[in-house]
Amino acid sequence: MTATETTRVMMVREAINDALDRALASDDKVVLLGEDIADPGGGVYGITKGLSTKYGLDRVRPTPISEQAIVGAAIGAAVAGYRPVAEIMIMDFFGVCLDQVANHAAKLRYMSGGQTTVPLTIRCSAGAAMSLGAQHSQMLEAWLVHTPGLKVCIPSNSADAKGMLTTCIFDDDPCVFVEQVMGYFNGSECPEGEHRVPIGEAAIRREGDAITLVSYGRQMNDVLTAADQLAADGIDAEVIDLRWLQPLDTATILASVRKTGRLAILHEAVKRGGVGAEIAAVVAEEAFDSLRAPVVRIAGKNTPVPYARELEAAFLPTVGDLVAAARALVS
């Protein structure tokens, strides 16, 4: 962490705006593009509010509804030396531009033998719980993690949102920064000045030796709640906030599992083929001898995200699911 001393409580959405503001201020090469990102709205969630007014429409460029054109333009500008931050309004819309992301942004450096690089950041909102239905609620980070060349991260709090986004912007590779809508209004202490979170470093949010709980994003709050409940039962959980899904901090995960011998993973994305599978597989391969119980994944159900509130709630992983699973593993 390169945090400055002073912090203040910010919501995640403010922290993101702050990171963008500082990046635009400190480097002329930073430009933003995306649908409706200009003022007065500053994006449909107001995340980019004030920035087009401050930096002009040349550097904060609203676009037509053309995700391939958005990502493509950002790629070209990135190769040309800019540090574009492209917004894909909702993660589900990666479906219409994944070719640009996965076949171009991710591969141009490799295919050029290192002659070109793509210092691009793609921000997107994501996730369920707003009753927006199957096409506006998905967590699709697993698609991206399976694509060599991309870096992928999901912050769980304001300080990380600010620090990780700043790191992404000034990183020389294409990074996808995922913003869960339900986390936007969560407030916590955030450094006021320049702040970066090193690429690929997980954070241990709580130490413990009975079981390792791994998660990321807004679900970290649930995991910490679960850890509190477990602690009340005398089960001391170690809680890891991955932050970066690629590069994945396998060293931190493995060290923890070697200590605790037990692992439960929680994420919002659909369980089958989710990032939890990769983590479980790494542990089953590299820390097998330390494992004293099955590796458990608590995740979104293997269904599209339903509309009705009750069903949507049933789709999502819960604190209760995690507590029950952890108890079963430890007993």
């Binding site: 219409v96 239905g133 096409q135 339903p306 069903l311």
Partner: protein, 328 residues
Amino acid sequence: MADDATLDPAVHRGLYRTMSLIKQCDDRFRTMLSSGQIFIVYYSPRGQEAISAGVGAHLRPDDSVVTTYRGLHDHLAKGVDLRGLWAEFLGKSTGLCKGKGGPMHITSPSDGLMVTTGIVGAGLPIANGFAMAAQLDGSDAVTVVNFGDGASNIGAFHEAVNLAAIWKLPVVFVCHNNLYAEHTAFEAGTAGGSVAGRASAYGIAGQRVDGNDPVEVYLAAQEAVRRARAGEGPTIVECMTYRFHGHVVGDAMEYQPPDERAAAMAADPVDRYRARLVTDATLTEAELADIDSTIAAEIDDAVEFAQSSPAPDLSELYTDVYAEGVAP
């Protein structure tokens, strides 16, 4: 303005009925939202009633309609069951889609309302598939796909119009040009300044009409539907209109000049058409009031039905992922 006298009074009655139904449904949704009776994300089609009414008047139950998140007007014009629709908006087990789809995904195959999508532009390629099926069937059924002005800038629009032109598919591309895509003004996003004008790039027919005049829309759609049924291929009909309530209810609408919106609302297509019908003595005030109140009662019934319906059973989370026999 189109000449109303060319149309049979029964047609006017039908057009007005649909427009009144859309307006009243929309009013009710917004009232219930603002009074806190319901909590949903709602994309109001208020102001765009004349388009769905004018197009819908030509459609048979075996014709297919594809639309978007801002689709309530299209759903109603296609004759979707009001109780099932309301229940679906409210996420109830009795909804058309058992509460699993929601407003962005209303489907009612028995009425020919085949797909409602939340992905901008994605309906156009799928609409081609319904049209292709009709072509293969040797039927003269047509498919109408509704989309916004902003959708005309996404790749799917281009691929779909090109394919429909090449295959001479019986499809009508109906652009509801309400001058905005979320916060973005039409001209700011759409090069060339006209969606219908893009038709010539594909060698197909394109027509821009006053989408606030149901009779103009009716006449343009008549020709487009005729062409499609006759195997003469697709048409782009661009209907110029205005969204009264922003992108989504709750939208601050700061990006819209306030007088622009005020002017559009002052020229409310529903009120204007209603007044015209009376002035022209096409329908009497009493007849119109009767239509309005019949609809109001239907809506009362649908709202009551939806509100008193149970939430979906939690087991429904796992059904309909696959056809029978495969667990999700």
